[in-house]
Subunit: 329 residues, 2 copies
């Protein structure tokens, strides 16, 4: 593999000059530049990212850390980020924290030592403190699908509360007379906001009771179990708003086992808009703009890495209602 020295020799200049045209830094005569470019071409030279990284520049690697690759939300996000990152010239390191705070901590350390240029983080367990510490250690972070209001952390999140309200209003409009909610983990902002949105719409209605909320874990199995507990406890429910699609799918499975007809006896709506080719009945959902979220995350991270003065705040993205068969005839 050709090195910068080979290029410099072939072009009859010094390595410093080659480095300059490589980085468009400092002045280089037009003629010289042409010679260098030609030489690089001739040797099909590509600078060694490794050396570049050692010499103090960027590693042109970013890390993507997700809690659960089996939740289709994250592959979709990963796809968006990978595509966008590669357009910017970054390589993506994939980290699956498995929702394990300890593993996460170790990964943070690793990333620092790997000198990654930045991190796109989706985590239910990372604390603001940890994230800020990471930033202080020189690693710009963009958080996705979780927010830390009041903290100097740049995060991207859907308008969850608003979206939840819209989902519930949709169920009400469909004629539901008693709506239950399967909420996500209590310590996840997105889950809390969705629960809050549900409460916003329902709290004043005569049938409302806080026991209409059952907590799950954002996973299909958990949604199945939570739905079971909810329905066993609260008779007369004819609408379910699940905190995410995975749980909604779990609920649908339970309903099918019990012979409930959806959407006739029970209407169900989820949240996320994951593109799982689902079977019967297709799930209505509040769509998060997952691809856009990944795209924006990468964009913002790139700006942070570039040292731009980006405001470290929570950015909210709009959701959109997607009505399919599970909630409407």
């Amino acid at each position: 593999m050709a090195t910068i020295r080979d290029v410099s020799k072939l072009a009859g200049v010094s390595v410093a000059t080659v480095s300059r045209v490589l980085n468009r830094s400092g002045y280089v005569g037009a003629a010289t530049e042409a010679k260098v470019t030609a030489a690089m071409e001739a040797l099909s030279y590509k600078p060694s990212e490794t050396a570049r990284s050692l010499a103090g520049k960027q590693s042109s690697m970013i890390a993507l850390m997700v809690p659960d690759l089996l939740n289709p939300f994250f592959p979709e996000l990963a796809l968006a980020i990978e595509t966008c990152a590669s357009a910017y010239g970054y390589t993506v390191i994939l980290c699956n924290s498995n929702n394990d705070a300890e593993k996460e901590r170790k990964l943070f350390d690793l990333l620092v030592h790997k000198r990654v240029d930045g991190l796109i983080l989706s985590s239910y367990t990372a604390t603001p403190k940890q994230i800020i510490a990471l930033q202080d250690r020189g690693i710009p972070v963009v958080v996705v699908d979780n927010g830390f209001p009041g903290q100097p952390i740049l995060s991207l999140i859907a308008r969850n509360r608003e979206g939840a309200r819209e989902a519930v209003r949709h169920l009400l409009k469909q004629g539901c007379s008693k709506i239950g909610h399967l909420s996500g983990p209590a310590d996840v902002t997105a889950a809390r906001d969705r629960r809050q949105g549900y409460a916003d719409e329902c709290a004043a209605l005569p049938w409302f009771s806080s026991s209409l909320i059952e907590q799950g874990d954002f996973q299909a199995e958990g949604g199945y179990d939570a739905a079971k507990r909810l329905l066993d406890r609260e008779p007369g429910i004819d609408g379910i708003f699940a905190g995410n699609d995975a749980m909604a799918i779990g609920a649908l499975k339970l309903l099918h086992e019990r012979g409930s007809r959806v959407p006739d006896d029970m209407r169900v709506i989820g949240f996320d808009g994951i593109r799982v080719p689902m079977v019967v009945p297709e799930l209505s959902t509040m769509v998060q703009p997952i691809y856009e979220m990944g795209e924006q995350a990468m964009q913002q991270l790139h700006r942070l890495i570039g040292g731009e003065d980006v405001k470290r705040e929570t950015i909210e993205l709009n959701t959109s209602l997607l009505v399919r068969r599970s909630s409407s005839r």
Copy 2:
């Protein structure tokens, strides 16, 4: 961040010695080693992978290249590989080729320049030539879910032909009297083998005709379309063996739209065993040991990287029949 020099000073030895205990290479006195270890501890020193990589050692990064992150098969594989890689001390670079031969080619180049230690490749487009070229450029490769018989390429693949035969026999045993097959892309080994397995079992049966095979693309949409073409063309089909789960799900969707009762009027079985929490009816499938496949891929790659003399051949893994509702009452 502490460097090897800091450690050497604190321990009162030379950097070479520190390097030795770091790599367990060469002899180091017990007392010295203890001092060094203590110093490393005290400074919470971690060697810079970047420097180590530049100095000619390994980059401790491997790449994982997949064609389609939206197919749940690949996140599952990725999870297995990431977990296993991290146990071995490797970091995983994620590449999504998007089934695009051109992007794939560029990625190969990139990986060479990044000096990744190895590559786990799942691709429908890469040619044996390309893969061998990559190996010649110093990057060990393990291919997953595709085989290149006769080529010096280490690949892991399920016993597709055998598995397909078993799936078809299962449908026959369930009483199917005319079974269609939705096959995958013609240029994918796995798809061909499964089609062949189907043919093995059916070719001699009175109702068989090659028009019972309809080609899809291993994606749900494609399965939907292929099933439509198949059923419109061939009346009397009461069993479908889909080349993978994604297509089987597409077929189920079509069947539901058409009011076919599954499994009463039509029995369906897929191939892959992806862990999508599916709705009604749950899909029967030939399970590939996805996790094990990822695990083995990582293991073999590690051996290749270590310079062990691993035989570059196709390794086959057993599948297992998982009967659920889509094929059995």
